[in-house]
Symmetry: C2
Subunit: 565 residues, 2 copies
């Protein structure tokens, strides 16, 4: 039995597909009855269970054994093989990857199971975008359509999200299903303005800290609290092995910034970076199963003088590395000059490209400046190129932006990037709150997601100060789930308010446990409630005591006697 993740009063359910033989996992929260006394009659009202979007995969299914040393079930493997457009390779294609696999000194830390990689057959295209453009509704597309609906039809709510709608959005590049054929453990999910707002979490060690076990634990924590995708930003030792453990054990798409590993391969010496080393790194990661790569291909030599005039220069790690490489060699960004080569590689595995914003503002003073916008325009140009190769595209956005300049970011992205989904880091709406930047950025993220950003990248309380630990991941994810859900409500997603309304009704009924079980973090809610409630507070609000409980008094206005639970 797996119990790495459990939620109170919740059951794991699966909804079957109609087009395909698929089972879509969800969480269903069971509620107690509402009981009111009206005219001395006990009126009992049944409260329907609430189905929730669930990112925890098999970890929350008590019927499935999970084992970190074996990895998750490869649920997409039969779908991928049945398509007969990819082949399993007999060896890895990356020179570096093969060296790592042959290095016996790494045996102790290497992931125990070896899965041989798949690649598109010669002349075949394997991306969800390609299938969609051919009119094919894949298993992945039906999966996300069911998943996005959260059983709304059981409540009589019809949404616009059908498998055919998913296909159209993916075909048009307006939505991305990150789904490397070498990460069949991941449950399909979709990123696009027409869908629920998604959140990305970043984990990863640096040369200063954190081992493999801890990173896997953070990855699972991220999925527990609701992270939709996960970026492994490791820069320290054993990047290859750490990533393998993470991918094999993560039920959500995994992203990376391949440049980080390429730089480790040259011992941090930027001058020695080359296209060959980078290309080998791409292949290595494609065959491990990374679902999307951040590539800073829009930062050009011509932009560097603009960045030099800023308060905080370049704050993107990838951006600053490639900027220095350009300066050292006096050459154009090789991500840009080799962009078609990159797309050819990615298209063989269905790895999406997340076009990085190396010139995102690192302070509110630098927001929306000429450097930032110049890069954005290049990202729009690269989007079209990637689409020619049927490579799915995300566009990364800022950063630090004061509220009145947020809307312009969305507008410019829409104007120049042809509808590709926007994926922003926050933005942070002020610079003055280190230690609280999960809040500073959730304020901006909620707004930009409301305006149409498809995915928001979380920020933890340790941003600007250190690497997040497990509790920071929890704080960051929950802050971003709040922002994403607030945006879903504001955008009028038809099923988004079901959870709010069920929770608010529970609150008004003093069904405390139902309230907690429906909340984003039931454990925290219960913990805070217990601190304040040495006495039984079942029929009044715990803040105010019985005389001053507004909800109790308000209920008395409606019912004629006090409700007794």
């Amino acid at each position: 039995m797996s119990n790495l993740i459990s939620y109170p009063s919740s059951e794991k359910i699966y909804v079957e597909g109609r087009l395909h033989n698929i089972r879509v996992g969800m969480r269903r929260v069971l509620l107690t009855d509402t009981v009111n006394i009206v005219d001395r009659q006990r009126i009992v009202e049944h409260n329907k269970p609430v189905a929730l979007y669930d990112t925890s995969g098999h970890y929350s299914d008590p019927a499935v054994d999970t084992d970190i040393r074996k990895g998750l079930q490869r649920i997409r493997e039969p779908w991928i093989t049945a398509r007969n457009d990819s082949e399993q390779l007999r060896a890895f294609s990356s020179q570096y990857g093969n060296e790592r696999l042959e290095d016996s000194s790494l045996d102790a830390i290497r992931f125990p199971v070896r899965n041989m990689p798949r690649r598109a057959q010669e002349g075949k295209r394997v991306s969800q975008m390609y299938y969609a453009q051919q009119g094919v509704i894949t298993q992945e597309m039906e999966y996300v359509a069911i998943r996005e609906n959260q059983l709304a039809e059981e409540l009589g709510i019809t949404t616009h999200i059908t498998p055919e709608f998913v296909r159209q959005e993916v075909a048009a590049g307006k939505a991305v299903i990150p789904a490397n054929i070498n990460h069949p453990e991941a449950e399909p999910m979709i990123i696009g303005a027409g869908f629920l707002v998604k959140i990305n979490t970043n984990i990863g060690n640096s040369s200063l800290s954190s081992g493999i076990d801890e990173e896997v634990e953070k990855a699972i924590q991220s999925c527990k609290w609701g992270g939709d995708t996960l970026m492994d930003l490791s820069t320290g030792k054993h990047i290859h092995e750490t990533r393998e453990w993470i991918i094999r054990n993560t039920p959500v798409p995994v992203g990376t910034v391949p440049l980080y590993q390429a730089l480790e391969k040259v011992n941090g010496n930027i001058a020695n970076l080359s296209w060959d080393i980078y290309r080998d790194t791409l292949v290595e990661q494609c065959e491990q199963g990374v679902d999307y790569f951040t590539i800073h291909a829009g930062l050009l030599k011509a932009h560097l003088p603009m960045a030099a005039r800023r308060v905080t220069g370049i704050v993107s790690r990838g951006g600053s590395i490639i900027a220095n490489w350009m300066k050292i060699h006096n050459k154009e960004n090789f991500f840009y000059t080799h962009f078609e080569d990159i797309c050819r590689i990615l298209s063989q595995y269905d790895v999406a490209v997340s076009l990085g914003d190396g010139l995102r503002p690192g302070s509110t003073a630098d927001a929306n400046d000429a450097a930032q916008l110049a890069e954005l325009y290049v990202l729009g140009e690269l989007t079209r190129k990637a689409w020619e190769h049927h490579v799915q595209v995300l566009i990364e956005g800022p950063g630090h932006v004061p509220m009145h300049k947020i809307r312009a970011n969305m507008d410019e992205q829409l104007r120049h990037c042809h509808g590709a989904p926007f994926y922003t880091l926050g933005p942070l709406v002020t610079d003055i709150a280190p230690g609280y930047d999960h809040i500073t950025s959730a304020i901006g993220a909620a707004q930009i997601a409301w305006y149409g950003t498809a995915m928001i990248c979380y920020v933890t309380p340790k941003e600007h100060l250190g690497l997040p630990d497990k509790e920071d991941v929890r704080a960051g994810v929950v802050a971003y789930k709040i922002a994403a859900h607030a945006a879903d409500l504001a955008k009028g997603h038809p099923a988004a308010s079901v959870r709010d309304n069920a929770l608010s009704k529970a609150r008004f009924d003093f069904r405390w446990k139902d309230q907690f079980n429906l909340s984003l973090d039931p454990e925290k809610a219960l913990e805070y409630y217990r601190i304040g409630n040495l006495n039984d507070a079942s029929d009044h609000c715990t803040m105010c005591g019985p005389h001053f409980c507004a909800m109790k008094l308000s209920k008395e206005l409606v019912t004629t006697e006090q409700c007794i639970l």
Copy 2:
């Protein structure tokens, strides 16, 4: 020496008035130099100190003795007496207040010093609004003008905030200076859309918890982290005595909901509430020095059926109490029927009225509904009545509101309340995050403050779950300082970005301590930094290690050699 509150690398400074003999306290953060190596030359750049708005009063002045048992210095007393329009009374006017003072069983918990109250002389008006309408720029008005500017003129920044502008805004009712003549310990501050966004904090015990010492400690914590006003919402025992300790020791305006105490006086039996008991409570609190009262005078009998149809009914404590009173007696709200009497009392002490929103939505489902708006229109009507008595007015607002419905709240308030400052609780943009509602509500608060709300009432992580402790107060205040400051930036307050820019420059320079000292919570920033930094990280960002530090790399783009600090 007082060291109840201290800030690192900061000095307490005072700016003198030009019109009046006043000294306005501020905090000034001292910065280290920027040092860059360019072409092997050491280039040193001096960084000017940054003046910050300071709510900590004398607690942060090492030159002043403070003693909780004596109370703060009564800085406004000479200004008030010199006006010669009020008189010191020989006895308190409240029957209840006098009984409490004569009760020897309360000697042990009573505040040790007794200050006799002042009241307007017969026929005289003592409110800041009245003075402003007479063309008088009071000490309070000049004080807030200096305070709002934060020494911007030293940086060559001219703002629109002059003493005359303050006078005009107060005269027009667009801004409020809460300044009871019986709370001369408070430093003047102003609440209005044309000024810096302010935050209110709520403290107070209930019958379930918390003693006087703890409440005074929370009050001082609130001022330390930046709370602009403080509401004492105590509902338990010893409300009178608790409030006296708080007022005498609080350098910011104090607000209350007098109904809470009135209900305690009738042992929680709503049926026994009466105008006489309430009137005596108003007088009692006016003479103690409460600066503003929340009064739920806009919730009328006709509104009750509207509230009964809601998901969460009435969630305002005061609103639900008066609603039940109306239902029991089948009478109109006595706050409404006695509103002119209330104004006559308040005008004798310059207590502002904060017109409570008893029908604020307690769930996103109830946002902007007919009940809420019906009450708002009545608040507009009452605003005009209060102004006839020269009573200053704030309008309270919601509550739980999804993002797309926030703007309408501000628009309706502007349309119906004649420019009186809006003062909102959040709003919370979703219902699903108990335990994190400081974040949920900061998202909404930042937006509504940007749209023009003058003061935002904080929410702590314990909202919906229990009473806040000292750490919750800190978390709530900092979250709201973020929201308020983000709104100041978005509104384009000319001096608001000085702090952001200074902090961001320090960040880019790896002047870690300057970065922390300029932040909203230097202690937290330093704590998080230390966790991640067993090694010296002075020349690179602590998240990424030296190879991957974007700021380090970016600096190298500009300077020719690595900066050595």
